[in-house]
């Protein structure tokens, strides 16, 4: 982004797409916009669209729940990690998502649903008042802008690779596409598009995985190739030993810790507990999907049903990355310590290109178009989710509550539109920041550490300890976030070249430690401040704190009548057992 590229497409397209591919991509856009138009028309002459949305069965809300997260950041970032470090990447799913999703459904959802709040910051407001609400709403809004930028950067890199446009042109065009997609489709069509997107992604990544595995001689062939590659790679390339790439535990290739024991502790506490619980249980984009369902039982089951497809996603995301690292010439070169030219950014091949390059090498025209459609779907949905969540929080939690209180609905609608445009413009700038990071996942994990880890600490303490005071709410949040920023600055590379290197930690390990520090600091500070300040009266905590809420408010009386496989707890138990089996098998 530092220099202006010529307007004329100067770069050779990374992928050789033909009319057939464009037809399949175009078809997807037609469906997405078609849903938008249908939704728009239905607002005026029929409410069928919204009604069928409201009576959606649990499998649909469950899929929408994970779809909102299965964005391009996840797909590209996880396949990049798969190419670089191999199988330990599965921890982002089996340790870093499933337990937290089950916890959300079993423990936390009754509070969100029972207290009738409509956004996560609003729960903060009810429990802790203005201070914590402001800290949460502002940090959430900022995080959404930054993540939208990452999504936009990845989207433009696809357009760049597909059409050969200069990155900055692709960035602007991609932003315009997303903006029109949000304004046209609106929030009402979001859930339909998310479910549709899930199937397009699976339909595009599953053939890619199967053909890729076929090319390297099956899973056995992949293991052999990774083993011989790790054995012959030059020492300067720092390729992880084959044993670490092909076994998920202890995952030193992921955490960057020297000791296997510390690595397990880091992954379980840092990734599995702090980062993932922080993300999945407090992220408004995710939680809102479940909060909108028709009963407390459906709300609790939404993340639990989503856990089942979620545990198999790594097979179609990480495996292609691993195949790419032994099959695609540029990736082999990169992993061997080389600096091959080209790539989606035009500034050399990066690990993020693993999936695109594999698509180029193994997919025939036709399937190639399907794969491009799947990636574009993921980008758009991811960015649209970030920007619309930003909208909601900005217009209602910030603007309406603190700046202009009693205006008409049209006024807030207009503010929401303006916020959408502003968010898109800001995302263009954050996209250029994201492009300077070699591995997008690092960047994201760093951000999550700042915003989500202390949030989870405050929530869990606030839900189960009635003595926790409003002052402790915002002081704990602020000090937790600041401590994470401090650790990131003192580490070797969590902030790229801005980090000071005082603490000898790099990569994911630094993120885990920053997040864990934020969690511990938040708990300690909240506890200390609570003892020194005045708590809220117990009567105001009903529905918000465990000990002040009647048990019958936390469960659905209808649920006992359902067969066992439709009840919350048995379903969560099955998911937990399955994910444990997966952990032992790989």
């Amino acid at each position: 982004m530092s220099r202006l590229a010529p307007l004329v497409p100067a770069v050779q397209p990374l992928i050789d797409a033909n009319w057939l591919d464009y037809l399949l991509v175009g078809l997807y856009f037609a469906f997405v916009l078609g849903i938008g138009f249908l939704a728009r028309r239905s607002v005026s002459d029929s409410i069928d669209f919204f009604l069928s949305g409201r009576s959606l069965p649990a499998w649909v809300t469950g899929l929408a729940f994970i779809s909102a997260n299965l964005g391009a950041v996840e797909i590209m970032g996880m396949s990049a990690n798969g190419a670089e470090i191999g199988l330990p990447t599965v921890h982002y799913f089996w340790v870093g998502a499933i337990p937290a999703m089950l916890f959300l459904g079993v423990v936390m959802m009754p509070f969100y649903y029972g207290s009738k709040v409509r956004s996560v910051p609003e729960f903060m407001f009810r429990r802790f008042g203005t201070g914590a609400h402001l800290v949460n709403a502002i940090s959430f809004a900022l995080a959404q802008l930054l993540i939208a930028g990452v999504n936009l950067y990845l989207l433009s890199s696809i357009v760049h690779a597909l059409l050969g446009w200069p990155l900055w042109v692709a960035l602007l065009v991609a932003a315009a596409i997303v903006l029109s997609y949000i304004t046209l489709g609106g929030l009402s069509a979001a859930i339909y598009n998310e479910v549709l997107q899930f199937f397009v992604i699976v339909a595009s990544l599953l053939p890619l995985t199967l053909i890729g595995l076929h090319r390297v001689g099956g899973y056995g062939g992949l293991k052999e190739k990774i083993t011989s590659f790790a054995g012959s790679a030059p020492g300067g390339a720092k390729v992880a030993p084959a044993g670490q790439q092909l076994e998920s535990w202890p995952g030193q290739a992921l955490s960057g810790f020297g000791s296997g024991f510390l690595s397990v502790v880091g992954i379980v506490f840092g990734l599995g507990f702090v980062l993932s619980f922080g993300y999945w249980t407090t992220n408004f984009v995710e939680v809102q999907r479940a909060m909108a369902s028709k009963s407390i039982s459906a709300a609790r089951k939404t993340p639990i049903i989503g856990a089942f497809p979620k545990m198999f996603v790594p097979f179609i995301v990480i495996l292609p990355g691993m195949v790419s690292a032994v099959l695609v010439k540029e990736m082999v070169d990169l992993k061997g310590g080389g600096h091959p030219a080209g790539g989606a950014s035009g500034q050399g091949v990066k690990y993020n290109d693993a999936l695109l390059l594999l698509m180029r090498d193994v997919l025939p025209n036709g399937l190639l178009g399907l794969a491009i459609a799947g990636l574009l779907a993921a980008f758009m949905a991811g960015m649209a989710a970030n920007i619309s969540a930003f909208n909601t929080v900005f217009s209602y939690d910030l603007w309406q509550r603190y700046i202009r209180k009693d205006h008409s609905d049209d006024y807030y609608l207009r503010i929401g539109r303006l916020a959408t445009v502003a968010a898109t413009v800001i995302a263009i700038f954050t996209a250029s920041i994201a492009s300077s990071f070699s591995n997008v996942m690092d960047y994201l994990q760093t951000l999550f550490g700042f915003f989500n880890a202390p949030l989870f600490a405050t929530f869990i303490l606030g839900m189960f300890w009635k003595r926790m005071t409003p002052t402790a709410g915002w002081v704990g949040l602020a000090s937790g976030t600041l401590s994470a920023v401090a650790v990131a600055f003192l580490s070797e590379d969590a902030f790229g070249s801005a980090s000071r290197g005082v603490i000898p930690l790099s990569g994911q390990g630094a993120s885990f430690v920053a997040a864990s520090t934020a969690f511990v600091v938040d708990i300690v500070v909240s506890y200390a401040v609570s003892l020194a300040t005045a708590p809220k009266p117990a009567a105001e905590l009903k529905g918000l704190v465990y000990s002040e809420t009647p048990r019958e408010d936390l469960v659905d009386p209808e649920e006992a009548a359902l067969p066992w496989f439709q009840r919350t707890l048995p379903l969560a138990g099955i998911a937990l057992v399955m994910v444990l089996v997966l952990n032992f098998a790989f």
């Binding site: 409410i47 009576s55 407001f125 549709l196 339909a203 053939p207 025939p364």
Partner: protein, 110 residues
């Protein structure tokens, strides 16, 4: 949201006069239509188009993916036909919240 029984399908079953199915709005029909179109196009591409065996390792990937997608589409369409979503005749409006009022409809609107 307040009373889970008002939206349950069992309750609306007595008032058959005013209820109808979601039809084209049913997400399963939309999924079935898109996957079905993809399936047909890829199957045709696999039968008529260039095969490119050097990329796929000898498998006619377009053909096989097309057939699987067409089958998946058929499942969604049949499922939607066998168990249609019934739209209840009456649904409660969204709840108001004193601390943060929700958007209201225009007076004179629908």
């Amino acid at each position: 949201m307040s009373d889970p029984t008002t939206n349950a399908p069992a309750d609306t079953a007595d008032s058959t006069a005013s209820q109808h199915t979601a039809g084209a709005f049913d997400i399963r029909n939309i999924i079935g239509a898109l996957l079905g179109l993809y399936g047909v196009i890829l199957t045709l591409a696999g039968l008529l188009g260039a095969h490119e065996p050097e990329k796929t390792g000898g498998v006619n990937a377009n053909l096989w993916t097309g057939l699987v997608l067409a089958a998946a589409a058929a499942v969604f369409l049949v499922w939607a036909r066998l168990k249609p979503i019934v739209v209840p005749a009456h649904v409660e409006p969204a709840q108001e919240d004193a601390t943060r009022p929700g958007p209201r409809r225009h007076p004179g609107g629908h």
